[in-house]
Symmetry: C2
Subunit: 388 residues, 2 copies
């Protein structure tokens, strides 16, 4: 299959309504009278309205038929009306905290019928839960629906993938021994931000972020250390680039293991094994394959090759309205791949004294296989950057 | 009192231990065998380790005497060891999700004695709560402790206040009719970021963020709309600048109402009333004053002056390891001010067709009054920016 076309426009009312209808179908199956969303990401997914959680709660209450009701601070009313792409019945409260009778839970409680069964998210906080009436049932309805993308979502992720591919290209162009982390970060993220603004002039910056960094060889064996901003790039390698973005609400990432001018001999073996492990994962990418089995197969191969103790994480994770979410290509995640899931493939090997080895791409599962949505050189030959 | 000196170094072990001791004293009072922190901000406050919440949980378990235990993904071990400023006993888990017996809750459950009473945060998620054993009691211990700052914290906020004052100065210097939002944002935030790096070369960028924007007169009456990045500054006003930062883990903000070249007649009245409301709030700033009463007094004055329907929010909020937290200068928040609280004072008036009127500063409560930590012109004369 060819790569689908990039989409740069906000979700239509039809798109958002179809997401809401999915929630309602699962609510019916579970016997819920209401479902309450507290997680800003789920609320964004359903409404196109983005916000950060501070102390003032926003709560989206979905019932089987009426327009969803949203509990919102008075202060945010205009903001919601500007961004929400779906009809909402707003229930404003004055402020947090507020005098007796005027708090968020006063308007919240009025929404529900007595003795209702209410689905709530695993991420709902204790503070909100304690004020929610009726019979509460923790349910992963939203996580479930978000696993498989609509064609619209895929188009947005195709666009986000182009943005991160561009950021990664810039990073690799500029990287040379002695280059400082912070300068690379600045150039790569502003390349991405400029392109985002060009493509989507009204992009929502509450749903947009860009990250770009290179782990030089002295720390590339620790993938979750945060590089010092004055860290310097080095001769040789392995360096590992990480470029991620959430582009007006839709996520993607690309990562590459690369070398400057030369490849240390001790790095050749692990690079080759990491690439073979990656190829093994790609071989399994099609609908109906069990995600836990893919991870198991990849780890077994790495162990058989003598690098078992140098594995620190699973093979991959999902994308959607974030650049990091379910599904997981991980032992213990016993679900099968489906068409229109979007995942990363990024098995890694991390050897103290030698370095880290990991490519990551954003990948769409298709009818009979997959399409890589991100784009950068992949082979050792291409990834020894010369004349640096 | 004079403004305390700025502090730019990480918290000492003594500072962090004293925070932990405060938790333990309140745990004893409440009869808790353990207290579990899930909120990344509380974990940062106690350990100096910053992270974002993804699906892999980090949990800090405090008991009356032993070193705190921290449940962490294997992948993050080196990162925690690098940043944590206090002794922690790490309990690593392999991955999320993981095969049976190797999940985060497997190591988590081993920490607790049977039948323990466990204090948990209001912000703890249902998913974590459901896996927490024993008798669980929601408790605001951490919120309580964070209300009043140590002298060290005050020093850090003094520094953060200098950073935002510098960003605000840059914003006002560059602002002129026709100037684009995005250019102002870029210049003001990079001014702040450069200064942060200069002052704190090893600043933690997981605990650092800067924001700077101007609400031009056409939207300044809606303080929580997000300005379009191509929005243009205009002749006259009121414009409202917002500059906030979290500087290596400590927050501050400054906001100003200003005019370019001239002041529309209809803006003079509300500006004057907003400034008088502000002065009224400042008059009340000293220990033992009831915060709800300050807000009530300010709102009553605004209402009496004829602008009651144009109030959208409370008079102020607190700062600490964030730029937005308790305590609140708000009706319904019935607590008194204490020495070493740090708050904003920012009553506002928002009139459609005329604009928004609000100054905000970061303010320290002292023995017998207050000290403003941020710094920018305040009077109408100074805030009509000429020759623009």
């Amino acid at each position: 299959m060819k790569k689908p076309k990039a989409i740069k426009i906000p979700p239509s009312k039809t798109e958002l309504t179809s997401r809401l209808d999915k929630v309602r179908r699962l609510m019916e199956k579970e016997g819920f009278d209401y479902f309450v969303c507290f997680d800003p990401i789920n609320i964004y997914y359903l409404t196109n309205f983005a916000f950060y959680v501070h102390e003032r709660p926003f709560l989206l209450v979905i019932s089987p038929s009426d327009n969803p009701k949203m509990v919102v601070p008075l202060l945010e009313e205009a903001h919601i009306r500007e961004r929400a792409g779906i009809e909402l019945e707003l229930r404003q409260y004055s402020e947090y905290p507020a005098p007796t009778g005027k708090n968020w839970y006063d308007v919240y409680l009025q929404i529900f019928n007595e003795n209702a069964t209410i689905g709530i998210e695993e991420s709902m906080s204790m503070g909100i839960m304690e004020k929610t009436p009726g019979k509460k049932v923790v349910s992963a309805i939203l996580e479930e629906i978000r696993l498989v993308k609509s064609d619209y979502e895929v188009g947005r992720i195709v666009h986000a993938s182009k943005i991160v591919s561009r950021g990664n290209k810039k990073l690799l162009q500029l990287c040379k021994p002695g280059a400082a982390e912070f300068a690379l970060y600045q150039e790569a993220t502003s390349t991405m931000t400029s392109k985002i603004i060009m493509d989507i002039p009204n992009a929502n910056f509450k749903a947009t972020e860009t990250t770009a960094a290179v782990w030089p060889p002295s720390i590339s064996h620790e993938p979750h250390l945060v590089p010092n901003i004055f860290a310097k790039m080095e001769e040789g390698g392995p360096h590992v680039s990480i470029v991620q973005a959430r582009v007006d609400g839709y996520g993607a990432e690309i990562e590459r293991t690369f070398f400057l001018n030369s490849v240390p001999d001790k790095a050749r073996g692990p690079f080759e094994i990491a690439m073979k492990a990656r190829a093994l994962a790609y071989e399994s990418l099609k609908p109906e394959m069990m995600m836990s089995e893919i991870d198991k197969k990849v780890k077994k191969f790495i162990a058989k090759s003598g690098y078992g103790e140098y594995v620190l994480h699973r093979t991959g994770h999902g994308f959607g309205v974030t650049s990091h979410e379910a599904p997981y290509i991980a032992e213990g995640y016993d679900r099968v791949l489906e068409k229109n899931m979007v995942i990363s493939i990024e098995p890694g090997i991390y050897i103290p004294g030698i370095g880290g080895f990991r490519h990551s791409d954003t990948v769409l599962i298709t009818d009979d296989g997959y399409v890589k949505l991100t784009n950068s050189p992949e082979t050792l030959e291409e990834l020894v950057l010369e004349n640096k």
